[in-house]
């Protein structure tokens, strides 16, 4: 009797696994990636929000977490290999590479440089040459605004000593409204729209009307390209899809963005949609995502004239169009 009991228990134990429900295959875990955007949550980042919401990044195995820290921090982290990607302006790539950071620009998001000089119409500043002798406010003597202004001045043979520059932080709208400055340097997608909405008549001189510069796009690092080109390609393609969807359906992109931009639901919808429309007008690279070698040449010329670095960089290593195909 005892032996029968033992045998019965052994049979039961052997049969037990067969009775257990089959475990379903665990889906591959998504890799969480922090993506520095270099600015506060804003409708201008709609393509990223669309790509996240529609699962384009998930298809690439990525869970993207937008990060709104400073642009330079994002570049340094990508250069150090701590993060795989960041959204930055073109001049940051060359400035970083000049200091030995191995960052590579892999997708042009903006075709046109978004920086512009804005002034009240009463000032009569219609062309870059009219800036001579004027008092111009800008966030600081660094970054895209400064580079854009210097490029604009250079395009008409003016130097920094021909104007008076004031570092006013991100107070361009207030400074111009209060007539503290005769002109300010800002982004086409922001200051002109805000000023016009406040009832001011302004003149706008876009840098891109006078010189093509490498603009905002996606960067990665040389190590990621060498060791994981599939990931880089997938990320770029997912982002391009987000841009295409936003251009094709801005209203849908606007609604999706409300989830990611906390203040968007309560903001003035007319102004925010103008910002999105203006942003879309700057994204029209053809083909989408392609870097323009001339824009990079122009950017290097401007930076070297500014004294940012002495020896020309090998631009073929600074940008890469392989991942947009």
């Amino acid at each position: 009797m005892r032996n029968k009991l033992i045998i019965l228990m052994m049979v039961f134990l052997l049969a037990l696994p067969a009775c257990a429900p089959q475990a379903t295959a665990t889906p591959a875990a998504l890799t969480q990636v922090r993506l520095p955007l270099g600015y506060i949550p804003n409708i201008q980042f709609a393509p990223l929000y669309v790509a996240i919401e529609k699962g384009y990044y998930r298809e690439a195995g990525l869970e993207i977490v937008p990060d709104y820290s400073f642009e330079t921090d994002g570049v340094a982290l990508v250069g150090a290999g701590k993060l795989p990607f960041a959204v930055v302006s073109g001049e940051q790539v060359l400035l970083a590479r000049a200091q030995g950071l191995p960052v590579v620009y892999v997708m042009a998001w903006y075709k046109d440089y978004p920086v512009a000089v804005v002034s009240k119409m009463a000032q009569g500043i219609k062309t870059p040459a009219d800036l001579k002798g004027k008092k111009i406010g800008l966030p600081g003597l660094y970054g895209a605004s400064y580079v854009g202004l210097r490029a604009l001045l250079d395009s008409v043979g003016l130097a920094e000593k021909d104007v008076t520059l004031d570092s006013i932080g991100f107070n361009q709208v207030e400074a111009l409204a209060a007539d503290q400055e005769q002109a300010v340097v800002g982004y086409l997608t922001n200051e002109p729209i805000q000023l016009r909405a406040a009832g001011y008549q302004v003149d706008v001189i876009p840098v891109s009307d006078h010189v093509q510069l490498a603009s905002n796009g996606i960067i990665t690092n040389e190590k990621a390209i060498a060791e994981n080109p599939v990931l880089v390609h997938a990320f770029v393609q997912a982002t391009l899809k987000g841009i295409r969807d936003t251009i094709a359906n801005p209203n849908e992109a606007y609604e999706i963005s409300k989830k990611y931009v906390e203040t968007l639901s309560s903001a003035d919808e007319t102004i925010q949609k103008k910002i999105l429309a203006e942003s879309i007008s700057l994204w029209q690279a053809n083909p989408p995502g392609q870097s323009d070698p001339q824009a990079w040449d122009n950017m290097q010329a401007v930076l070297m004239k500014m004294g940012s670095y002495a020896n020309p960089l090998d631009l073929s290593k600074a940008f890469n169009n392989d991942f947009i195909k």
């Binding site: 400073f70 030995g100 600081g140 003597l141």
Partner: protein, 269 residues
Amino acid sequence: MGSDITTRQGNKSRHTLRMRSHWLGVFSLLAALLLWGLVAHYSNLPAFILPSPGEVWNRFLHALSDGSLLANLWVTIKEVLLGLLMGTVFATITGYLIAKSRLFEQLVSPYLVASQAIPIVAIAPLLVIWFGPGMSSKVLICALIVFFPVLVNTVVGVRAVPASLHDLMDSLRATRWQTFRFLEVPAALPIFLGGLRIGATLSVIGAVVGELIGADSGLGFLVNVGRGQYDTALVFVAIFTLVGLALILYGLVAAAERRLLSWQDSKIN
């Protein structure tokens, strides 16, 4: 004669202690530099993340030779000194009035305390808008950050004067000015100077906060330039220069304190 020997022995042991303290300071500084160098060397971190002491020293020499360091240092020094002066004067006057008048204290204290709850970093951009991007906004930010510690110490110092000494002055029929000049000022000075020491080091922070928000010169501006060009060694140079400036200011106030309060030591002796 016995007291002379005791005084000389006391001075000698104080001197020995001071020398030992100085050498310990030098030793700890060298140890910190060595540790930094070892971390920079063995961590394989690139220079834009952690430059070595040698790289920072070379960058310092470069900034010194091209004049950029001294030019920007001078701008920050001017802002600090003007801000310290402005903050100290207003804090001393306000603090004295608060100490002497309960009514005045009840009127202004809520605003003063509330103002300290506002982070200076949050209000600095507003000050730049209201007062412009020039030196005035930086001096004002500096003065605001110096104001409260000096104010508090002025109030405490004036109120700490014993009532018995006030009675003594009254019995001698001293005028208000004589009471202020010969009693309240010397009595409150030790505590007041303690607040000024704190204010002096905070004034450097105030000037830099203003420059970080928006400036085209100053050590804070150098930090921004270094950051914007991934020149981390330049950021280190600017930071160490700021530290040096703060230490010098602290030392100057401490030296003034020793001189102005030397009567305390001679009284004890």
